[in-house]
């Protein structure tokens, strides 16, 4: 573990996540013929929230204080196991730790909803659990696909193994599945079922305010960009050595930020072209995703016999 790199990465995460969210808001606004807020708007919102006092419902108690901060920490850890502007990740752990943390943060959100004691929070929390349960398998399978083709569970080795190879058609399919999962895990329309502003008034977050809400929000945003960061490992299917950045003889900086912007664009396109799913519609779609990604995984295993095994 490289401490300097870790600090650099965490600072990057905290700085970048709200800016990308601001970019998403701006893009969505442009797609809806609006001017939209400034790109730094999410930052302004967060700073305002951080300046406010901490208010908790009587029903909330001690756990409601802990959960938002924990959510934020877990998201940061998630971000720290993925290589960002360097080839090496700041923290060891690879895909397995990444997936564990992703699941953990979803369940923390559900707990946040339950401890707040608000009926909307509870319904939102239970929806979050259901959504996580149906979406996570597809993420797991598509990341496993990546691991099989990259012959490793660690991101840096995957990068090394994949960059010099042929094109990986199965990886392209896994990538599409993964992009849908990003939207679902990030809790954006059409998958914002747990928060569903017009139905549940914010779901798990309904009772949080001030600093606690800021931590919850920032945690959610960092989690989203951690998911974006992984997306670029799939791009190798189209552009060899994409992750390392040899194709432009830059450091991985450019491909990294390019991936982040593309993911943001995908999310805002989905957001402005869809209505919110109902839970059963989301379940149905996730079912399809799981089937597609599983078939792809089997095909990858068959065509790459020298893989993980």
């Amino acid at each position: 573990m490289n401490l300097a790199l870790l600090v650099l990465n965490l600072v990057l995460a905290v700085l970048l996540a709200p800016i990308l969210d601001g970019l998403r808001r701006k893009l969505t606004a442009r797609l809806q013929n609006r001017v939209g807020p400034p790109i730094l708007q999410t930052w302004y919102d967060l700073l305002k929230l951080f300046r406010k006092e901490t208010l908790l419902p009587e029903t909330g108690g001690f756990l409601a204080m802990i959960v938002p901060v924990t959510t934020f920490t877990v998201s940061l850890s998630m971000f720290a196991v993925v290589p960002t502007i360097t080839v090496e990740p700041p923290m060891e752990g690879g895909i397995i730790v990444f997936i564990h943390l992703a699941v953990l943060s979803a369940f923390l959100l559900a707990i946040a909803g339950s401890v707040s004691g608000n009926p909307y929070g509870i319904v939102g929390g239970s929806r979050e659990v259901i959504l996580a349960t149906i979406v996570e398998p597809s993420i797991i399978v598509s990341l496993t696909n990546l691991a099989v083709l990259g012959r490793s569970m660690f991101f840096e080795e995957i990068t090394e193994n994949i960059q010099t190879g042929d094109l990986y058609p199965w990886l392209a399919v896994a990538m599409i599945v993964y992009f849908v999962c990003i939207i679902a895990e990030g809790g954006r329309i059409p998958f914002d079922i747990p928060e569903a502003e017009s139905e549940l008034t914010g779901g798990p977050m309904v009772e949080f305010s001030g600093k606690l809400l800021a931590f919850m929000k920032l945690g959610e945003l960092v989690r989203a960009i951690a998911l974006y960061s992984v997306a670029r490992f799939f791009v190798n299917a189209f552009i060899p050595s994409y992750v390392i950045g040899d194709w432009l003889s830059f450091a991985p900086l450019l491909p990294y930020f390019l991936t982040m912007v593309i993911c943001t664009l995908v999310v805002s396109l989905a957001e402005s072209m869809n209505a919110r799913f109902r839970l059963f519609e989301a379940t149905k779609l996730s079912g399809y995703l799981l089937v597609v990604s599983s078939v792809t995984l089997i095909l990858s295993l068959l065509t790459n016999s020298g893989g993980l095994m």
Partner: protein
């Protein structure tokens, strides 16, 4: 029993137990019945003869005859006839038989009479408060004449509204009084099993400000249209039009043709802007914000049109007794025609792309079902009725202003779900745009204002206007010295919100906002709010305790 062929025969059939039958004016009758005969007479008129329940009004008439008046207004759409059943309740008696077992939609009307006049509906299944706050003291009845309009009774300090309780083990989710999905305060409680709604309860009244009391106590005929249009922020013009229509009916005045056409144009502008607003809100409720933005972008041009014709972004301040206050100049007429064709083109493109969007249509299809029988049983109005296959529209059935000269369709869909109501509204926008275009192209020349010299007292006027949300009914009894003796506003939401329970049961919590939204509820209309602060000091929302009791089982 088959419906009699002519209106005269219908009245012959209805007369049965009536003490007296008076013809008020063309196609409007009054039947006076004994209060004991009310349930029987209304059962017959409503269930056997297919009358449409329009409104019920209680009036304090103690100063004149030592009794209270109860007027039940029924309409026959097929014949364009209005029949008022009047019963008298002696002051000493103070109770009247409830008709809710025969006419289900009389529920709220009877509760309102109980709230405001203190008359007890005997046999009502649940005579709880409707509009008055929980802490309103017993024995204080705002619409009695001895109650001054600015009196504020002391609070009882108790907030104990008896919500319905289910035997089954279910969770309770309070929905409102303030909720993202609703722009106005109303309180639903959902009894849910998982996410499925098994029952609901409703409490309204958070917006009640007593506009009728104010009008009866302080205002004269010239002022009321301006208060009436402030009943609602969206369909204000229909309220002033409706009131003016009732008074003009009493005064038997001839309105200049040009004024009629201008009123028609403004009514339809209001329909277009209201429906576009609704389509936007509906998109927002199902999480489709792009639709919301685009519909409101198109709507903006209608607001410009309204500003050009009336001087206000809303169609306020135009109507007056006897005509309208502004003429449409030739330049404005041409510019309006241009704007309308622009809006028509943009709207067609937009509605086509939105209705082809699977996720949007999927959210609306099959939710919030209301069968034709229920629609008829509860006398629902407007797009809610037409979405359930009931073809009713007072523009066609009781033609007013210039509608009889114009050519338009009444869209009807039979599915009875939210999608059907959406489609009805989407078509109505096109129809309304075409009506505006026709009216602007063929508007006759002439004056726009005629003067009323004399409005006789103790006469009854009924105004019927097809507001964007459904039939708006104003009932007026004229008084002396240019004041109203009794004015009762029945906004369309009053009729439609009563069926929300039927639409909601069996659907999931996720669909609740769009189901309630599909009624296009307008609470300030229903509760007749005004900008004038009369009784707001006593408005109370739910205490936290009341909202939370029993939630966390």
């Amino acid at each position: 029993m088959a419906l009699p062929d002519s209106v005269e025969q219908l009245i012959e059939v209805l007369k049965g137990k009536a003490l007296k039958c008076t013809r008020i004016r063309e196609k409007m009758w009054m039947l006076e019945v004994k209060k004991e005969d009310l349930p029987h007479a209304l059962d017959h008129a409503y269930n056997n003869l297919n009358g449409q329940f329009m409104t019920m009004v209680g009036t304090d008439d103690r100063s004149e005859a030592n009794d209270f008046l109860l007027d039940y207004i029924l309409g026959w759409h097929e014949k364009g006839a209005v029949v008022i059943f009047r019963a008298r309740v002696r002051t000493e008696d103070g109770s009247f038989p409830s008709i809710t077992s025969h006419v289900a939609c009389a529920d709220w009307y009877e509760r309102e009479v109980k709230d405001f006049l203190g008359l007890n509906p005997v046999g009502h299944h649940r005579p709880t408060k409707l509009f008055l706050p929980d802490d309103w003291p017993e024995g204080s009845y705002p619409l009695r004449r001895d109650y001054t309009y600015d009196l504020r009774p002391p609070s009882t300090g108790k907030e104990d509204y008896p919500f319905s309780v289910l035997d089954k083990k279910v969770s309770v989710i309070p929905y409102g009084p303030y909720h993202f999905a609703m722009d106005e305060p109303m309180h639903f409680r959902f009894f849910v099993d998982g996410e499925r709604i098994v029952d609901t309860d409703f409490r309204g009244g958070f917006n009640y400000r007593g506009v009728e009391k104010l009008a009866e106590a302080k205002l004269d005929y010239a002022k009321i249209p301006f208060i009436a249009e402030r009943i609602c922020g969206i369909c204000g013009f229909t309220h002033s039009e409706c009131f003016v229509q009732a008074i003009e009916g009493v005064a038997e005045v001839d309105i200049p043709e040009r004024a009629k056409w201008i009123r028609t144009i403004l009514l339809e502008i209001e329909r277009v802007h209201s429906h576009l607003l609704w389509l936007g809100v509906a998109s927002h409720l199902v999480g489709f914000d792009s639709g919301f933005m685009q519909f409101w972008r198109v709507r903006e041009k209608i607001m410009l049109l309204a500003e050009m014709l009336t001087g206000n972004r809303k169609t306020y301040g135009m109507i007056t007794l006897g005509g309208v206050r502004r003429d449409i100049s030739e330049d404005k007429r041409k510019e309006s025609l241009r704007l309308i064709s622009e809006v028509t083109r943009e709207y067609k493109e937009l509605i086509e792309s939105v209705t082809s969007l699977q996720t949007f249509v999927g959210r609306l299809k099959g939710v919030g079902l209301l069968s034709k029988e229920d629609a008829r049983r509860y006398s629902v109005v407007g797009p809610v009725a037409r979405g359930s296959g009931v073809s009713a529209d007072v523009r066609r059935d009781y033609p007013y202003e210039a509608y009889s000269h114009l050519d338009f369709d009444i869209p009807v869909a039979s599915e009875g779900d939210v999608l059907a109501r959406t489609i009805v509204r989407a078509h109505e926008v096109l129809e309304a745009l075409s009506i505006i275009e026709q009216a602007l192209s063929s508007i006759p020349n002439g004056p726009v204002q005629s003067y009323l010299n004399y409005i006789p007292a103790e006469k009854i006027g009924v105004g019927l206007v097809e507001a964007p949300r459904g039939t708006d009914v104003h009932f007026v009894i004229t008084g002396k010295d240019n004041t109203v003796y009794r004015w009762r506003v029945r906004a369309p939401t009053y009729a439609n919100l009563q069926v929300a329970r039927i639409m909601l049961i069996g659907h999931t919590l996720a669909d609740a906002p769009v189901i309630i939204g599909s009624i296009d509820p307008c609470i300030s209309c229903m509760e007749r709010a005004t900008v004038i602060d009369v009784n707001s000091g006593n408005e109370r929302t739910f205490s936290r305790k009341a909202c939370w009791q029993g939630e966390m089982k």
